[in-house]
């Protein structure tokens, strides 16, 4: 089984330095790409069916195709790697950043070339200190070798790459919030259109892609779109970094074919529940996804199939709920996070999330009232996509809406018995 993204990564070992990375085939894709036109690379990426791994699954080739190209494009153009991994329960990009930093740098240079970007930034989470050290070293070595800077490998193409570390806030993972943060402002979403590909950082064309998304690009250039599609079990190309946390036998990240079933991830890789715990449900891809149950174990986890059962792939890292953990308590934890991280820009999010949080707090304390389940239900409509500026609040009500559907009896018990049955 091909594992292009993690082939060089060995647990608890230093990552390859740039010479070792080159010997393992690194920077071959860049050399090849510089003999191709940027549009040819865009076409390869489009043909490979690579979709955004940050959670939304937008086709990468289509995003790049919307960038103004050639002489008439406003300059400078920017490419940003979104490495602000803050989705609760998600730790896949950390593996790539720490485990193979040279792959990260090569993927940025290649992708920047494909959209003719002049400047690239890595927007990195504050807490990823080890990743920061390793990526900084990889950038410096890439400059020394002529992979970055003026006239890369003697070609007409030039690129500067900078590392920016965040000062915190979940909002920075949202594309527009990230742009504001980079411009030295409060992180707040923007009205769309215009989209950032035409009007992003300082009003200039800007492409923002997730770490895992871009890490695929060198492999697509090296091996071609057909190979990339053959890695997957569904229409969406490539492999996927899946992971698991919670009370399972093995937690961790595994690179598997895109479209691996939920049951395989849970049983074969996570090894099922630890002794004494029973499975109740899971969030398939971070905090802002809908619960899935045992009846969904044969769903192929890509960007299409989970939606048919009312959920979504998200970041692909599952968070498991066991029978000794209170679903209402779990919801309270999730909604407290979203309420705290709301930037307060639009009313449904600023007012709605704390309201949800207070109701759940009351239920956990044994002070819930029967009508409050309906109020929670109403919020799943009030905060949905289209009612807010960004995806934070709609994402926040995804676990809530599905919990009300699957764990309704647990909510009712809290109210009927006027206490949390798990406490």
């Amino acid at each position: 089984m091909d594992k292009p993204l993690t082939q060089n990564i060995r647990p608890d070992r230093e990552p390859l330095d740039i010479d070792q990375y080159e010997r393992a085939g690194g920077y071959r894709a860049l050399r090849k790409a510089l003999h191709m036109s940027p549009l040819q690379i865009q076409q390869m990426v489009s043909a490979s069916n690579l979709r955004g791994r940050g959670g939304a699954g937008f086709p990468t080739g289509r995003k790049w195709g919307a960038v103004p190209m050639g002489e008439r494009a406003r300059r400078p153009k920017f490419l940003i790697m979104n490495a602000d991994e803050m989705e609760p329960g998600t730790f896949k990009d950390r593996l790539l950043l720490e485990g193979d930093p040279n792959q990260i740098v090569e993927s940025i240079i290649l992708s920047a070339y494909a959209v003719e970007a002049d400047i690239a930034y890595i927007f990195l989470r504050w807490g990823y200190k080890l990743a920061a050290r390793r990526v900084t070293k990889a950038i410096a070595q890439a400059y020394e070798k002529g992979y970055l800077g003026k006239n890369i490998l003697g070609s007409p193409y030039s690129l500067e790459l900078y590392l920016h570390t965040s000062a915190g806030r979940y909002m920075c993972g949202e594309e527009d919030g990230l742009l504001d943060a980079l411009q030295g402002k409060r992180a707040i979403p923007r009205t769309k259109p215009p989209h950032s590909v035409t009007c992003g950082l300082w009003g200039k064309p800007t492409v923002v892609n997730n770490v895992e998304t871009l890490a695929n690009v060198p492999h697509i250039v090296n091996n071609g779109p057909e190979w990339f599609k053959s890695l997957s079990r569904t229409e969406d190309g490539g492999t996927k970094l899946y992971g698991a946390s919670g009370k399972v036998t093995r937690t961790g990240i595994w690179e598997l074919p895109m479209g691996t079933t939920l049951g395989e991830i849970f049983h074969e890789y996570a090894g099922g529940m630890i002794n004494g715990h029973k499975f109740r449900g899971l969030l398939p891809g971070g905090a802002s996804t809908q619960f899935m149950l045992e009846q969904h174990f044969d769903v192929k986890m890509d960007f299409t199939f989970p939606q048919q059962v009312g959920s979504r792939l998200g970041t692909g890292t599952i968070i498991v709920l066991d029978d000794k953990t209170c679903p209402v308590g779990m919801l309270l934890n999730l909604e407290r996070f979203f309420a705290r991280e709301s930037c307060g820009w639009c009313t449904p999010c600023r007012e709605g999330l704390p309201w949800i949080m207070r109701i759940l707090e009351a239920m956990e304390k044994g002070e819930g009232r029967p009508e409050e389940v309906d109020i929670l239900q109403e919020h799943t409509w009030l905060l949905q996509l289209g009612h807010t500026f960004c995806a934070l609040a709609p994402g926040a009500v995804m676990p809530l809406e599905s919990a009300l559907k699957y764990f309704r009896d647990d909510f009712d018990q809290h109210i009927r018995r006027q206490r949390c049955p798990w406490r």
Binding site: R94, R125, W126, L182, G184, K185, R186, I253
Partner: protein, 154 residues
């Protein structure tokens, strides 16, 4: 007045961006590194240097949770309170730290040794519960392990 060292580090950041104010959050972090927190005076110093108004810079400083507008202790404990750590029993670790230090979240010990702060998901969910002390990550926490860790920070 910004110290020479502070200016030198901020200048390095300025080279990365088109506009001066883009270095705002980095400049705040740099000054905070030397002074411990961002006082009103520090805010004035940085704002003047970046051609921003103090109010503009304060809107940035108060947005990001890793910029401190109040004094903090010599060491900052950031305990992850997100969902995987919650499932894996972070509350026991938190109440142990609170008992040991005699402070609530957001407070600093009277000897100014520690400030205890909540933090969103640290991306260490496979080894939950997790926390950071200053720049160091600690995972698979238990009350005993926390005692050993905190003893090392004087």
């Amino acid at each position: 007045m910004l110290a020479d060292e502070e200016k030198r580090e901020i200048n390095e950041e300025l080279e990365k961006y088109d506009r001066k104010r883009a270095a705002a959050s980095e400049a705040l972090k740099i000054v905070q590194k030397y002074r411990g927190w961002i006082s009103n005076e520090s805010l004035d110093d940085i704002a003047r240097y970046l051609d921003m108004t103090t109010e503009e810079l304060d809107s940035v400083a108060t947005c990001y949770n890793l910029i401190f507008r109040k004094p903090v202790g010599r060491h900052r404990i950031f305990i992850c309170d997100s969902v995987s750590c919650w499932i894996m029993g972070y509350e026991q670790v938190l109440s142990h730290i609170q008992r040991r230090l005699g402070v609530e979240l957001g407070q600093t010990t009277p000897d100014r040794r520690f400030t205890l702060l909540p933090i969103a998901c640290l991306g260490a969910c496979d080894k939950a519960p997790a926390m950071m002390v200053d720049d160091d990550l600690y995972v698979e926490l238990s009350p005993t392990k926390v005692d050993e860790i905190l003893d090392a920070y004087r």
